[in-house]
């Protein structure tokens, strides 16, 4: 199976770059190629100016990598894990303590505790500390917030921002579209192909389809009826609203309202809204689907 196809992108030094796409889109494969763990069948890639195939040794010294699956030693304590990673990268915890201080200080009270007994959020912080302890030039974080509670997610992104501001280039992958706005630039990935690479603001601004949020009492019937409405382009549920776009310009909120009323819907709400990253993603992946 081909996991990735025709991928070209560039991350500028010091950027916080997000790779955003659903499960199975190829994010992990892409990260593994960039961290020299897998060979690409074709093409070239370089990280921090070094080729991922020829200079893999140097890349392994220069990058920090936090795999999607938690991968620290469960039977070692917090402190022992951190020490171990510092040692194998030829440094010490003291030497780079400033870099991890903000993060590590939160788990330091538990430094004698074995990792197996830590909470998910604490494990995440420790994993990040371990990936950072050798002061990498580029930091790869594969789905660091998957399975983490909303508060810890927020905290984690704050930490990433702070790290990024110290000059470390950060590549982070996530299936959560709402995390896109927290990146400097993002790439949307779907079924092994990049849909778009740009800043989140530009991506949203370049999206011209006008979007309407529609709600009514019976959501299930509403989706069905909107899909039957002549000229519809896309209809999908998004939280409590249905996001609706129309394929041509001869659209008015009144006409849709009348149509829905005639269908017997109650409490109809139609609001024009600004498209978010997820709307763009849906539109782009649908467009790609029709092209193929």
């Amino acid at each position: 199976m081909q996991a990735l196809r025709d991928i070209t992108f560039e991350v500028k030094p010091g950027e916080l770059f997000g790779l955003i796409g659903p499960d199975g889109a190829g994010k992990t494969t892409l990260f593994r190629i960039l961290t020299t763990l897998l060979f690409a069948d074709e093409g070239t890639a370089s990280v921090a100016g070094m080729d991922v195939v020829g200079d893999y040794r140097d890349i392994r010294k220069a990058v920090g990598y936090m795999p999607g699956r938690f991968s620290l030693y469960q039977d070692l304590s917090v402190e022992e894990n951190l020490d171990f990673f510092a040692t194998i990268f030829g440094t010490t915890v003291e030497e780079n303590y400033d870099l991890i201080k903000d993060i590590y200080i939160q788990i330091e009270p538990f430094k004698k505790r074995r990792v197996v007994a830590l909470s998910g959020g604490m494990k995440q912080k420790l994993a990040l500390s371990c990936a950072l302890i050798h002061k990498p030039k580029v930091l790869f974080l594969d789905e660091p917030t998957t399975g983490v509670d909303p508060v810890s997610r927020r905290e984690f992104w704050d930490m990433l921002k702070r790290l990024n501001s110290t000059g470390i280039t950060v590549l982070v992958s996530t299936p959560y579209m709402d995390e896109a706005e927290l990146c400097n630039r993002i790439a949307l990935i779907q079924e092994g192909e990049l849909l778009v690479v740009d800043s989140p603001e530009n991506i949203v601004a370049n999206h011209t389809d006008s979007l309407y949020k529609v709600a009514a009492k019976n959501t299930y019937m509403l989706i069905k009826d909107l899909k039957d409405f002549k000229g519809n382009k896309s209809v999908y549920a998004f939280g409590e609203f249905i996001h609706y776009t129309h394929s041509n310009s001869d659209f008015s909120e009144e006409r849709l309202g009348e149509y829905l009323e005639a269908k017997g819907h109650e409490d109809i709400k139609i609001v024009k809204a600004r498209a978010g990253i997820e709307d763009v993603f849906m539109a782009l992946s649908e467009k790609k689907g029709t092209e193929v």
């Binding site: 990058v63 991968s71 030693y73 990673f85 194998i88 990268f89």
Partner: protein
């Protein structure tokens, strides 16, 4: 005036530090950090600790005390149809030996099967009628030994022991009477005159345990890194493949040597197993076998993706053949030729031969060079194959 080597020894610490920083430096620290982590894994895992230290002691004691062909205090019965001074004399001799206890005196043939069925005795000795009279007049008297062959080994041994007591007795009464001296068979058991079981099982158990500790534990420990995902992080680090492999193996070399010493000490202190040959040669051969087993363990771990696979390959692919085909339990020479051929590719067979040679026969390298070379060859083969198969990337 100091000779050069004395100056060296005086400043050895400085020289060592110099050597460390020049040739080893951060690489050495990296390696030591890795070894430290491995020791944490081993000492914190109860299962590992049990396999490492509980099992060798338990196995040696089990084999030593429970699984043995030697007989002691075996219950036997007597059916004496003659009841003369000769039969009473013989009966007393048997009961005064440490091997037998006379449990039943039966009065008829019919009773014999009954006491066998109850499991009261292992054998019954039957004297014919007029035993003493026949013996005096013709020097020919009949006895019958009936034994319970449910356990063939014991039956055999019991029969042999009773026979030799009877022969001793006959020789004594014929002493000095010309023409009545039978052919005397004097057997002498070389290397193990008392036919102690420990001479056979101790080298065998040592082989099995060293193989288990070295091959199985190493293979599981590398497979564990793969399974837990930590291999992914280790690969994206400046650690070289060789550092990872040697770092994994190093603690087990150390622990295997301790194990070997514990087994030899137990054998000597508890069972009186001596080492006839050179201790130095024994140590060298043991280290060679440990290295061979470790390199096999690495090879297994490189092939297997999960701890379970590694364990299955080690147990099914290593333990069974070692126990069955290494000559530890069944002699290789009495196997059918296909099995004999297979036994040749098992490192444990060669180490078992070496161990018996050094410990029991006390022979030197002059007689064991072939076995040693084979082990050495196997070790090199496993190492080369492992390095070729080691993946510096994910599969």
């Amino acid at each position: 005036m100091l000779r050069p080597w004395m100056r060296c020894s005086k400043n050895w610490r400085a020289m060592w530090n110099n050597f460390k920083s020049k040739f080893l430096g951060t690489n050495f620290k990296r390696f030591m950090g890795f070894v430290k982590k491995e020791f944490y894994h081993i000492f914190r895992d109860k299962r590992s600790m049990f396999i490492l230290f509980g099992m060798p002691i338990a196995q040696i004691l089990l084999f030593g005390f429970a699984i043995t062909n030697e007989i002691k205090n075996v219950n036997i019965g007597i059916l004496d149809k003659s009841k003369d001074s000769e039969t009473i004399h013989i009966t007393n001799r048997i009961s005064s030996s440490p091997y037998f206890k006379i449990k039943n005196i039966v009065s008829s043939e019919q009773q014999i099967e009954a006491i066998f069925k109850k499991g009261q005795v292992k054998a019954v000795l039957v004297f014919e009628k007029d035993f003493g009279k026949n013996l005096k007049s013709t020097n020919l008297a009949n006895v019958q030994i009936i034994s319970d062959a449910t356990d063939p080994n014991t039956a055999n041994t019991v029969t042999n022991y009773i026979q030799s007591i009877l022969q001793d007795y006959q020789r004594e009464i014929n002493l000095g009477i010309p023409g009545r001296e039978p052919i005397e068979v004097r057997s002498r058991m070389f290397y193990n005159p008392e036919l102690k079981g420990v001479f056979n099982f101790l080298p065998g158990v040592m082989t099995v345990i060293l193989m288990l500790v070295s091959a199985m534990m190493t293979s599981i420990s590398i497979a564990r890194e793969k399974e837990q995902g930590t291999m992914e992080v280790l690969l994206v680090s400046p650690l070289k493949p060789l550092q990872v492999i040697i770092g994994k193996v190093f603690p087990y070399i150390f622990l295997s040597i301790i194990n070997a010493i514990v087994i030899l000490l137990l054998g000597f202190v508890v069972f009186g197993m001596p080492v006839q040959g050179s201790y130095f040669l024994l140590a060298l051969e043991t280290v060679l076998f440990i290295l061979c087993a470790l390199s096999l363990g690495i090879l297994i771990s490189i092939i297997s993706k999960t701890q379970q696979t590694a364990m299955m390959i080690s147990l099914m692919g290593l333990m069974l053949p070692i126990i069955l085909l290494s000559g530890f339990i069944f002699p290789v020479s009495s196997m059918p030729w296909p099995l004999q051929a297979i036994s040749n590719i098992i490192p444990a067979k060669w180490y078992n031969l070496i161990l018996k040679g050094v410990m029991i026969k006390g022979v030197g390298l002059r007689f064991l060079w072939k076995e040693t070379l084979i082990l050495l060859g196997m070790t090199v083969f496993f190492i080369v194959l492992s390095i070729k198969k080691y993946k510096i990337r994910l599969e």
